[in-house]
């Protein structure tokens, strides 16, 4: 697989706090790359810096050997780097179709064409039953789908998903994972940020762990999960939990 996105020595700090110290990573064509790490480790800053929300203080981002470092957000989207937001951000006053049409207009000037393309994406993401529903009236699960659907309509090369499954129950989460796989199969490379490890393990080809704005580990999901450094970072410098005796757990279910 050839490298699609190559990030080298990315740096970003806010008022003296180094959110990203020196992060380098590659995303291969067709890959789903998991990006994990404790809250505040710099995952969202990474996405925001690549997506153009923040200008990096240093480092480079190459998309298919084109330098896209520090481009503003719309330009990144036009180059084929799409993202979703940690908290779902549909255009609340618009219907699902109108939402997706805005995204589809990136590739055409004709609203009718864009609408047709939008309808395809909507069908693909399982939102057909609420095409004309105002997105403010959608439940969380549908909003998450709408996020993915809008991103899909952009026909991106790279899609960065910032906790796109947050707030979903296990069944919905499984459906969400299927949807991400589907998008990936259309030829979109994915950077996948998620806290729920089960989802990361199930979905990602490769995982990168960030901690304190630095790359902590990298490898297959299974290998990373077993990594002593990673366990320590997640458990806050101690391994209390691992040392507790392996009693069976008669916790009360409600």
């Amino acid at each position: 697989m050839s490298t699609l996105l190559k990030v080298t020595n990315l740096k970003k700090s806010f008022q003296g706090v180094h959110a990203l110290k020196d992060v380098s990573l590659d995303l291969a064509e067709g890959e789903i790359l998991g990006l994990i790490g404790p809250n505040g480790s710099g995952k969202s800053t990474f996405v925001n810096t690549i997506a153009g929300t923040f200008r990096p203080d240093g480092g480079r981002a190459l998309l298919q050997d084109v330098d896209v470092t520090g481009l503003p957000t719309p330009a990144m989207a036009r180059h084929g780097v799409a993202r979703t937001f940690q908290s779902s951000r549909p255009f609340l006053g618009m219907t699902v179709l109108e939402n997706v049409t805005v995204a589809a207009l990136l590739h055409t000037d004709r609203p009718a064409e864009a609408e047709a393309a939008a309808r395809e994406c909507i069908a693909l993401t399982g939102l057909a039953d609420c095409v004309d529903v105002t997105s403010a009236n959608l439940p969380v699960e549908r909003r998450r789908r709408l996020d993915l659907c809008r991103a899909l309509a952009l026909k991106p090369k790279v899609l960065m998903l910032d906790e796109c499954l947050a707030g979903l129950n296990p069944r919905e989460m499984d459906e969400g994972l299927d949807l991400v796989r589907l998008i990936n199969r259309t030829g979109v490379s994915v950077i996948f940020i998620e806290h729920v490890m089960k989802a990361v393990v199930a979905l990602c080809h490769r995982v990168v762990v960030l901690n304190q704005g630095e790359l902590l580990a990298e490898g297959s999901p299974q290998a990373v999960m077993r990594d002593e450094k990673v366990i320590r970072a997640y458990l806050g410098g101690s391994s209390k939990l691992c040392s507790t005796s392996k009693r069976s757990a008669p916790a009360t279910a409600t």
């Binding site: 809250n39 403010a136 729920v196 490890m197 999960m225 458990l235 209390k240 691992c242 916790a251």
Partner: protein, 234 residues
Amino acid sequence: MLDVKAISAGYGDMKVLDCVSLTVESGEAVSLVGSNGAGKTTLLRAISGLVPVWSGSIVFDGQDLGALPAHKLPALGIAHIPQGRGVLTQLTVKDNLLLGGYVPAARERRPETMKMVYDLFPVLREKESQLGGSLSGGQQQMLAIARALMSHPKLLILDEPSLGLAPIMVEAVFEIIKTISGQGVSLLLVEQNLAEALAVSTRAYVLETGRVVLHGASDELANNEHVRTAYLGI
């Protein structure tokens, strides 16, 4: 002491909490765990009156909180440290602390409380005339806790106190939380650092998509298969 009965709540049309019940006894430390977006923060905010409760009731110390505006709750003895610490960055450390004791009952005892708090956090005394925003993340968390203590709370609500802190700072913060808990203040804690959370608390609730799916003694939950696979990836 705190009795949350079957509450539902959310933002706009979006339901985030679905019939959640929870109790915190006097002097008890309870933690609330679950993945991002499960509704933990919303639950804390609903208790503090920052999010309107659609149905169900919240009773604190025998008083129904439903009818009270949010700013009346601190006077009852509820202190809530929000996610991101809520330090007033444009105010000095001292002004932050003075406002911690803004409620009338605490205001009378402010000088002595201030001394007590400074003894607990000597670094704050050193920096008392600096702006809150100039402190490091760890110091800001100390300030947030110190400010909460200024009101002599009966119940301390903490939302992700370890967020964005270096591991060594996390340890320190949890040491302090343990100390406070040891002094008889009830705790309700949301924390993604599961190990620390379960270590300081006696009981815990697991929240998933706005519902309590598990609850029990902290050490039992720590070994629960579901918790371990879902939240720790072990």
